[in-house]
Amino acid sequence: MREMIISELTQALHELARDFAHFLPRLIVMLILAFLGWVIAYVAKVVLRSILRLINFDKLSENAGASQLLTKADLPSATEVLSRFVFWVAWLGFILLGVSVLGILGLQEQITKFFLFLPRLFVALFIVFVGLLAATFFSRAALLAAVNANVPSPRVLSAAIRSIIIAFILSIAFEELGLAEETMLVAFGIAFGALMLGLAIAFGIGGRDLARRFLEERFVRRKNEENEDELSPL
């Protein structure tokens, strides 16, 4: 009995030692990958930061309105955020690659999913950035056109255009990420519908007199004023 126990114990120890001997190189490979990944990610961060500074990305981000959002969230500049983001994504990618080398069952599928998710994450970020640029551009264009046409409350009009574009862009980005697709779709539909209904009610019922006055001022009085104002700039 005693011999059997010793034999089993010995065998278990042997198996453990054998498994460890098998595992140790993979662990070392994982650590090497993680280290290499850190180096590569760090280099990528430095290079990207230099390129972004060279192309004045912070200015672009400021024009897009993204810098203001970052400042409000107490985050560093857009260049720094994007550089750090790329660093962490790259390093995490290498770490997960190393973990996959360990051959731990169950993790493989999750790691594959992560790598499949990455392109979508980048596309979503790109959509958000371009969307912010578009929102800023069109809202500013509306603001300038409204001010020069002497339309009342130009900033409200501009903010409304900006909000609609951002809501639209966010719904596209979430759809791209595959996160809460239906919730976002329904939320966007409800929000957009509510906005339009609100405007329709406001102008149709609540603001009937206001709308009349507005239209009169716009098309009747202004015409008279223009006739009076015969300045020719050139």
């Binding site: 001010v147 020069n148 002497n150 130009p154 900033r155 015969e230 020719s232 700039p233 050139l234």
Partner: protein, 448 residues
């Protein structure tokens, strides 16, 4: 003879007769002149004088304008070979047919004038929508092909074109060897405020040349200046249409061409369009700001300014009362400063913006947009335009409410002023632009 008009280098070998046309026209890309137009040009042959007439739905006025031009040519240049080139932007009211249908015989009975040469009138349709840049390019290409010695362009927007204008614009080129003739007019003091408060003083301060009407509907130019501009201008950069007249003037200045002014008389427009400030800014201030970049080596070295030779009187100011809605100008200025604060923060310096915010709520009696503040505003806009802090078109649009404020100040300051006082005020503003030029240079150099 190549008449397909599609080769990179179009060679037009003239028929073997006296007065054949320019044998080779080099264009950067596919030529834009139609085959029919080229045939008409070949039939005309070389000319001494070319009158360019860009049109778009001008049937109501074009007949009298063409007759006036014909009369002007017959009076002053009966021995010269002349042609009227109509570049039409898709008129639907038969304008081109009217131009080509007007006979020289229509002019003779009233004026008792006789031409010793055939006076040609030809027309081409360059597109279905009007585009000043394309129209001018067409006229310049025709002038180049026909080897015209002196050319004038007349946009039919002027209601008071007189036959003497032809002579006044052509003679300095044809007889005196000038390359560009810009007009001066007799104008009401409230007219042309963008010219008197921005374009004239800024061009004078930066380029050192005192051209009173740098953007005009009537001007004359020599064949060599026309050819220079035809080959130099970036016609295909997508911006060639806007403000091409102003770029033409700037090209003459930077190219060192001989420039003079000629007094034409009273300036009155067919349509007064007071509300079209933003398009006017796009056509003039946009091209000017844009040109500052390429012309930096020229204007950065210029100090002071020199008058240009002027034939006839200098600009004259009319003083009769004119109804102007000052309240609306002030409101649009105040609203603009308040509503566009976020845009101005990107364009203007904090001190300039603070000063604008201080004067914005003032009533009409106290309201003044001082010359120094206006000049700083314009220069900061020019520097921001160059840096592209926001879309360049947005920068130009944002200037509109501020210009209204300056226009109001000009009107208030000159409400009871004599013609001399109005001129003195304009001169004072010009000197302010010249005095603050180092401020623009400083901003320009620190743009990186």
């Amino acid at each position: 003879m190549t008449l397909d008009g599609r080769s990179a280098v179009t060679s037009l070998v003239s028929p073997r007769r006296a007065g054949g046309i320019h044998t080779e026209l080099k264009l950067e890309d596919e030529t834009f002149l139609t085959d029919d137009f080229l045939r008409q040009l070949i039939n005309v042959g070389e000319v001494d004088i070319l009158v360019g007439l860009p049109t778009h739905n001008n049937a109501k006025t074009i007949r009298s304008i063409v007759q006036t031009i014909q009369s002007g040519i017959l009076q002053a240049f009966p021995r010269e070979r002349a042609v009227i080139i109509n570049a039409d932007g898709g008129s639907r009211d038969g304008t081109p047919e009217l131009v080509t249908g007007i006979s020289i015989d229509d002019v003779r009975p009233t004026s008792n004038l006789y031409a010793l040469r055939t006076l040609h009138s030809i027309s081409t349709k360059y597109g279905s929508t009007p585009a000043t840049g394309v129209a001018l390019r067409t006229i310049l290409a025709a002038a180049d092909l026909l080897r015209a010695k002196a050319c004038i362009v007349m946009f039919p927007e002027s209601a008071t074109i007189e036959s003497e204008w032809v002579s006044k614009l052509v003679r300095p080129i044809y007889r005196d060897g000038f390359d560009l003739v810009t007009p001066t007019y007799r104008r009401h003091k409230s007219e042309g405020l963008l010219l008197t408060n921005l374009l004239y003083p800024m061009i004078r301060a930066l380029y050192g040349v005192r051209i009173r009407e740098p953007y005009t509907a009537e001007f004359g130019f020599s064949g060599r200046l026309g050819s220079h501009f035809l080959n130099q201008n970036g016609w295909n950069d997508g911006t060639s249409g806007a403000g091409v007249e102003l770029r033409f003037t700037l090209a003459a200045i930077t190219g060192g061409y001989r420039i003079c002014q000629s007094f034409l008389g009273e300036k009155e427009r067919v349509e007064r369009r007071g509300a079209d400030l933003v398009p006017a800014l796009r056509q003039t201030v946009g091209p000017l700001f844009s040109a500052l970049e390429s012309d930096f080596p020229v204007w950065s070295l210029v100090t002071g300014s020199q008058p240009v030779p002027t034939t006839g009187n200098g600009p004259e100011v009319l003083l009769e009362p004119m109804r102007v809605n000052r309240k609306r100008l002030r409101e649009m200025f105040s609203n603009g400063v308040a509503e566009l604060n976020s845009v101005f923060q990107l364009i203007l310096s904090p001190s300039t913006l603070a000063e604008l915010q201080r004067i914005a709520p003032l009533g009409e009696d106290e309201f003044r947009y001082p010359a120094e503040l206006w000049v700083r505003t314009v220069y900061e806009f020019a520097a921001s335009f160059q840096k592209s802090v926001i879309s360049r078109d947005h920068t130009i649009q944002a200037l509109a409410p501020l210009f209204r404020g300056r226009a109001l100040t000009f009107l208030i300051e000159n409400r009871n002023a004599s013609a001399k006082e109005v001129e003195d005020n304009i001169e004072g503003l010009c000197l302010e632009f010249e005095r603050l030029k180092p401020y623009l240079l400083q901003m320009w150099k620190s743009r990186e």
